[in-house]
């Protein structure tokens, strides 16, 4: 699993093995280690950096408050992402209510979100093609439902396993697979139709 390769220290794996909740003082280390991943997931979900930052803070605060309730049944990242997903659900609900109050959002456009690309592509033509592909994926992701988007992002950006996504989302593995299949099909359609 690629997600584990991005986690230095693997403190969560140690805690899983001991099945003991870590000390409260260790939360600093947890926040330092997992914050970037939580922020990345929330940023890709909302496309709003400020909102993602706020939700990341809320997530870590909530995790800190409930730290003693974590018993190591899942990885720390899975537990944190579950909190983040619930916060995001609340935020979606609030945004739907705020829509009627003409509240605007700071989310960037999908075309702007697609501009971020590391300069790995060797030639300018490859860079342009890669940027175009990224924009198409963003457009497809934009059209997905909230649940499908989360599952797609957890699988293809955070590279989590189906079982972990199911644990984080509070769904069965079968449901996750079905949503992921539909989401991937939509993205494939978008890419196939435009290419």
């Amino acid at each position: 699993m690629a997600a584990t390769t991005t986690m230095p220290g693997h403190i969560s794996e140690q805690w899983m093995a001991t099945k003991e909740a870590p000390d409260r003082a260790d939360f600093d280390q947890v926040a330092r280690e997992y914050r970037p991943q939580i922020f990345r997931f929330l940023l890709s979900s909302t496309r709003d950096a400020e909102l993602a930052e706020t939700l990341t803070q809320d997530c870590l605060m909530k995790a800190y408050r409930n730290w003693n309730s974590f018993r190591g049944d899942s990885r720390v990242l899975t537990w944190l992402l579950r909190i983040a997903i619930n916060l995001q659900k609340d935020q979606w609900r609030n945004r739907r209510l705020q829509f009627w109050r003409q509240t605007t959002t700071n989310a960037v456009d999908v075309s702007e979100a697609g501009n971020w690309l590391p300069s790995e592509a060797s030639t300018p033509e490859q860079q342009v093609a890669a940027r175009q592909q990224v924009k198409l994926v963003w457009q497809a992701v934009e059209k997905l439902s909230g649940r499908q988007r989360s599952i797609f992002l957890l699988r293809h950006v955070e590279e989590m396993e189906i079982a972990e996504i199911a644990a984080a989302m509070g769904l069965s593995e079968g449901t996750v697979k079905a949503h992921l299949s539909r989401a991937t099909g939509r993205v494939r359609e978008e890419l196939g139709g435009r290419q």
Binding site: R40, S44, W116, L117, P118, V134, V137, V157, E159, V187
Partner: protein, 159 residues
């Protein structure tokens, strides 16, 4: 498809890193000494401090509401009860028990009344003595406070 997903992942990661760096630099520019990952801790501390301040304010307000009217009532009762007590004992002793009980101050007020009367009496006496002293000084033409200056003026006039 796989290439597109890979590019998408790289794009999201690059964007996220850029935004995280921007947030961190913004926090540093705002003068926050701690790193950005610790800001949750600061937020928790601020929330705790706010709750404590609110609790303290609520406590102060509640205790203020409780004590202030009581103190005011005591002061009013003392002021009202002090002069008539002497007169009431001589002039109107024929009131009923219940009426006298209503008019009588409480134990605390009763114990405070003579003290406050004595204090106000002492203050009046000292004021009268001071005024009398001033009057006598003025009558003598050279108030004691101005005596050195009066002497200096008379010396300079003689010269």
């Amino acid at each position: 498809m796989e290439q597109a997903i890979r590019s998408f992942r790289q794009s999201v990661t690059a964007w996220s890193e850029k935004e995280a760096a921007r947030v961190e630099s913004g926090a540093r520019r705002a003068g926050r000494p701690t790193p950005a990952w610790l800001s949750w801790w600061m937020a928790a501390g601020a929330a705790g401090a706010t709750v404590a301040a609110c609790a303290l304010a609520a406590l102060m307000l509640t205790s203020g509401h409780k004590t202030e009217p009581r103190q005011m009532a005591q002061a009013v009762a003392v002021r009202q009860s002090a002069p008539p007590t002497a007169e009431a004992t001589h002039a109107a002793p024929a009131t009923t028990d219940s009426a006298s009980r209503e008019n009588q101050p409480t134990t605390l007020e009763a114990s405070m009344a003579p003290i406050s009367n004595k204090a106000s009496g002492d203050a009046d006496d000292s004021d009268e003595k001071l005024l009398a002293g001033i009057d006598s000084d003025i009558a003598q033409g050279t108030p004691k406070a101005l005596a050195p200056m009066a002497g200096w003026m008379s010396d300079s006039a003689e010269r």
